[in-house]
């Protein structure tokens, strides 16, 4: 296999590059969202307005319902809109066009249209933004047939999966974790994509499987380092896509280790971890040696106060202690 040349860039730069390259490649791709034309406010879209003009990098009024529905329409009519939702919390005002229209139209219309739409949805806590600006809501969209949901956890996946998302002929919710924007990592040079629907083993191990979603894949990697110091060899698996969910990819690791911790930033009840736990126990029941444990945000809103927020959100330490509990 030829050596892939890489360089180190941040998660937000990786997203920015993917947008540049895809807009360059396909003139049907255009961006819409609040404040996206102003580089200072949106690093992920920095420079795009200058390069491609404000027709294709289109500031919108604060009308989430309106511009999301408009994106569905433009997609039906053959364009490939990429929306910037700014925060997933604001999507609460735009769920109808996403869940009732984008996800279902192709099906309801018997395949007459497709909706090649990408919704970039930054989310997550850790910056004292409080209950309405810190939510992680990706679990909702696993339940909506017709949507793809992507949850990249590092710069290379962010770029490769965003490029795939833009080329995908179906509506994609592309979740970006605000806590990861500054995370740096190796990213291949040139044009590459990552496959949608395929989990990735981020670290191989044999004692326990740590499944981390988005920001928590990072915490799982950190946790695996800490565990290694105590002689525990953890495997870290990142589903990368949660709709469709690569159940086999996840169950395969659990069959090997027999133990599993799932970490996510959303609330525990009804979270992504619930689905993964339910499907993994169905698929790998015979291999499981212990219950699957979920590490997630506590079932309370995310408070503003730094200390309280830290109590509510998951962390590397919480992953470590969950793993140790299973191994004890």
């Amino acid at each position: 296999m030829p050596e892939v040349k890489t360089r180190t860039i941040s998660y937000s730069t990786a997203i920015n590059e993917a947008l540049h390259e895809e807009m360059e490649r396909d003139e049907k791709v255009f961006l819409m969202g609040e404040d996206i034309a102003l580089s200072a406010i949106s690093p992920a879209t920095a420079g795009l307005g200058d390069r491609f003009g404000h027709e294709r990098v289109r500031n919108t009024p604060i009308s989430e319902l309106g511009f999301t529905g408009a994106a569905v329409g433009a997609a039906m009519a053959g364009y490939r809109p990429v929306l910037d939702m700014r925060r997933i919390d604001f999507m609460m005002l735009a769920i109808d066009p996403i869940a009732n229209q984008a996800a279902k139209l192709r099906y309801m219309l018997g395949g007459q249209v497709s909706i090649p739409l990408v919704i970039r949805a930054p989310e997550g806590g850790g910056s004292q933004n409080g209950p309405t600006h810190s939510q992680c809501l990706e679990a909702w969209f696993i339940q909506v047939p017709g949507l793809r949901v992507i949850v990249p956890s590092d710069p290379a996946d962010a770029k490769g999966l965003l490029k795939s998302a833009i080329r995908e002929d179906n509506p994609v919710l592309f979740v970006e974790y605000r806590a990861l924007y500054s995370l740096e990592g190796p990213v291949p040079e040139g044009d590459y994509t990552e496959p949608i629907g395929k989990a990735a083993v981020k670290r191989e191990g044999s004692d326990i499987t740590l499944i981390g979603i988005g920001s928590q894949a990072r915490n799982c990697l950190e946790a695996s380092d800490l565990l290694a110091r105590e002689g525990i060899d953890a495997e870290v698996v990142d589903p990368r896509t949660i709709n469709p969910l690569d159940v086999e990819g996840l169950a395969g690791s659990v069959r090997k280790t027999g133990k599993c911790v799932i970490a996510e930033e959303g609330h525990k009840s009804g979270g992504v971890g619930a689905e993964i736990a339910a499907s993994v126990q169905e698929a790998a029941f015979g291999a499981l040696k212990a219950p699957i444990i979920r590490v997630a945000a506590l079932d309370v809103p995310v408070p503003v106060h730094t200390k309280l927020e830290a109590i509510v959100l998951p962390s590397t330490e919480k992953v470590v202690s969950a793993a140790k509990k299973l191994l004890s």
């Binding site: 769920i95 909702w140 969910l245 959303g266 009804g270 619930a274 169905e282 029941f285 699957i292």
Partner: protein, 327 residues
């Protein structure tokens, strides 16, 4: 004990609660006229001020419900189709569920959202969804889903009296049921957060959500003929979820199937399954099974709709699978 249909039970609860507490009022599209009989007689009895038709503006009137609740009233908003809540999620998820918490307990939001749900009427993908799992992930909301007349009445009364926002889910096919059931006399409420064992058994536990309870009981009936005794549990309240009652049953039976009408992935069954295996892993003799809508939108065509939705036959097959017995 009086005998009531599901619709009559809901209707009685509304009459009684509106008569009991003048802070209770009802708001929604066509509530004064009401197609289904749930609101029968309310407008005549309590006036159009308290039984308030709204324009088609789910965002507006649900938000208004939150505001009225903040100011001390007890609004009941009628969202007509669960699918329409997609327009009203901001006031429900970002406001009603969080306000008390964000404001450090300065106020509460005693609002009930009545949410008729459910497929099976060939209304298609946008008029029959079951989205209750969404609300389970929102701390601050309570989510109730009664499957029969007595629970419907007792829970709706409890919901109206609860000081928190309650998503009260109803099912359109239950509206259509003409069978009457005994409902406790007088001012009776059903406790929120307590599951109900609808049938006792030892071989497998079936957890049925809302309308699917009917399929579960039919399945249990059919399996009993073959000597398989199922315990059937209705959580009644999805949030808070009574994990204790469910796991107590699974400790006894060691096998469990969860049945819901929502789509499989990340549905109510996912949470219940994850919670059960976490609590009583060592008692389980087989993987926890789930019966749910297939991962396709609900098609209009009758045959296709049936294929996508759960059914008594699918429940029976799932129970057999968990027991390792062939049909």
């Amino acid at each position: 004990m009086p005998e009531l249909t599901y619709v009559e039970a809901l209707n009685e609860a509304l009459h009684e609660e509106m008569a009991r507490d003048e802070k209770v009022f009802l708001m929604g599209e066509d509530v004064a006229f009401d197609y289904f009989g749930v609101c029968s007689g309310l407008a005549d009895r309590f006036g159009r001020d308290r039984v308030r038709d709204t324009p088609i503006c789910e965002l507006g009137f649900t938000g208004a419900g939150v505001g009225a609740a903040m100011a001390g009233f007890r609004p009941i908003v009628d969202l007509r189709f669960m699918d329409f809540t997609t327009y009203a999620l901001d006031p429900i998820v970002n406001q009603a569920a969080k306000l008390r918490y964000m404001l450090g307990g300065q106020l509460s939001v005693p609002m009930v959202a009545r949410i008729p749900s459910g497929a099976g009427l060939q209304y298609g993908a946008t008029h029959g969804q079951s989205l209750e799992a969404w609300f389970m992930q929102v701390p601050g909301l309570k989510v109730l889903y009664p499957s029969c007349a007595p629970d419907a009445k007792g829970l709706l009364k409890a919901a109206v009296r609860d000081d928190n926002p309650v998503m009260f889910i109803e099912h359109r096919l239950l509206y259509a049921q003409k069978t009457k059931q005994s409902v406790p006399e007088g001012d009776h409420t059903t406790p929120i957060g307590v599951a109900d064992v609808k049938r006792v058994g030892v071989d497998a536990t079936i957890v049925g959500i809302g309308y699917q309870m009917g399929h579960c009981l039919e399945a249990a009936e059919a399996l009993a003929v073959e000597g398989i005794e199922c315990e059937v549990i209705d959580p009644l309240s999805l949030s808070p979820l009574d994990v204790e009652t469910i796991t107590a049953s699974v400790r006894k039976t060691s096998r469990c199937v969860i049945v819901e009408e929502g789509h499989l992935r990340s549905g109510v069954g996912a949470e219940i399954s994850a919670a059960i295996q976490e609590a009583v892993f060592e008692y389980l003799d087989a993987p926890i099974g789930r019966v749910a809508a297939l991962m396709a939108p609900i098609p209009v065509q009758t045959k296709l709709e049936k294929f996508v939705l759960p059914s008594t036959e699918k429940v029976i097959a799932a129970v057999r699978k968990t027991l390792g017995v062939a049909a």
